[in-house]
């Protein structure tokens, strides 16, 4: 059995999934994957949607993504256990140990902080890698091209500055 899909097959399958989701036979909407976070936060923190403009705005998109993300979680678990054999518990990525540091505390603090940044950034821009890159650029939307350009540039600059990418330790 093939344990890894090549990038081109992954790209074609992702494209088919997007086309199905967009179609009236699927969900007649794009795929997005960041609105669910404030939606879940609203539930967990007991925030009444009547009192928050933002929760009213995202009521439908948040619910849709909330359900999709449950599926994403299950799908990722199934393939990691049965196909890619990559399920294991870990707290530091291997490349973090090689190119950043070996401290568990450092990784966890940076994880918490960067998770916070990801959601604030995605909500300011109105989308993420899925909503803007995949779904938005597929619709040739200028908003998504602007977001895509800014993210690509920032990602590469941050990667150069944040990691010690010279010789492996």
């Amino acid at each position: 059995m093939k344990r890894r899909l090549p990038w081109w097959l992954g790209g074609i399958l992702m494209s088919l999934l997007l086309l199905f989701t967009f179609s009236v036979f699927g969900a007649d909407r794009p795929i997005g994957a960041s609105t669910y976070v404030p939606y879940y936060a609203g539930i967990l923190f007991g925030m009444d949607p009547e009192h928050y403009t933002y929760l009213k705005e995202i009521e439908k998109a948040g619910a849709w993504e909330g359900v999709m993300l449950l599926g994403v979680f299950v799908g990722g678990f199934i393939t990691s256990v049965f196909i890619t054999k990559s399920f294991r518990f870990s707290v530091r990525p291997t490349a973090w140990k090689v190119y950043k540091n070996t401290s568990v505390k450092s990784r966890l603090i940076w994880s918490f902080f960067s998770g916070f940044l990801l959601i604030i950034g995605a909500r300011l821009a109105g989308g993420c890698t899925s909503g803007h890159f995949l779904s938005g650029m597929s619709q040739t939307a200028f908003s998504s091209m602007i977001f895509g350009g800014v993210v690509l540039a920032t990602l590469l600059v941050t990667g150069k500055l944040f990691y010690n990418t010279g010789e492996p330790k």
Partner: protein
């Protein structure tokens, strides 16, 4: 709010989530759930949710992310255009809220490089046992709470003016078909032409048989790769 009230609130909201997805015309609960399974499965099977792929791309050591992403967008943009022409789908572009897009893009890009995940790939990594990403999700939930709480007073004004939802197709007029083809083909070509580079994580491959390992295959085919242990 007492514990009993909180429990009731969570149940009511969860039921509302189910009802919206089941009855409001964008698929059904199970359909959307299955879309999620495929989304998570495709990403996990290609391993593009890995830190070594996303942060590796930020470091300039792995190019699988842009190759797969641009290929998917290129194919979808052309096929979706015809799907819509045939009346089987419609466009739902996001508005050009310029300040929000630029500020959000910068904050998002920094977060993505450090975390080595994005909001869609994060849950997949948690599902395969990444504890650090679970901690990152708590940071994300805090961000979601803060954004919701201060949306009216702080974040909404910060996002600035909305310049509408224009797309290549909407401004293309009679040339829309041509523009879409140029856009889609250019992205597919970029995806193919970006040199293939991979950063493999030995821990991720340790359970595989020797001939199943992608690094062994890359070695055989003289591809550019690096294995971190």
């Amino acid at each position: 709010m007492s514990i009993g009230e909180y429990f009731d609130f969570v149940l009511t909201r969860t039921e509302a989530m189910y009802n919206i997805v089941q009855f409001e015309g964008h698929g059904s609960f199970w359909l959307v759930f299955v879309i999620g399974i495929f989304f998570g499965g495709i990403i996990q099977y290609t391993r593009v949710d890995k830190f070594e792929k996303i942060a590796g791309f930020a470091m300039g050591k792995d190019t699988i992310i842009p190759k797969m992403l641009f290929l998917a967008i290129g194919i979808t943009s052309i096929a979706l255009y015809f799907e819509i022409q045939m009346g089987y789908a419609s466009y739902h572009p996001k508005p050009i809220i310029l300040q929000g897009l630029i500020m959000g893009g910068i904050i998002f890009g920094v977060g993505m490089a450090i975390m080595g995940k994005c909001p869609g790939t994060g849950p997949i990594s948690i599902a395969e046992g990444r504890i650090d990403v679970l901690v990152g999700a708590f940071g994300g939930i805090l961000g979601g709470w803060l954004f919701t709480k201060y949306y009216d007073d702080f974040f909404k004004p910060l996002m600035g003016h909305d310049y509408g939802k224009s797309t290549l197709v909407s401004v293309g007029g009679d040339y829309a078909t041509f523009f879409v083809f140029v856009f889609g083909i250019a992205l597919i070509l970029i995806a193919i032409l970006i040199p293939k580079m991979e950063l493999f994580d030995d821990a991720d491959l340790s359970l595989l048989e020797h001939d199943e390992r992608p690094d062994v295959k890359a070695e055989k085919e003289h591809e550019e790769f690096e294995l971190v242990k």
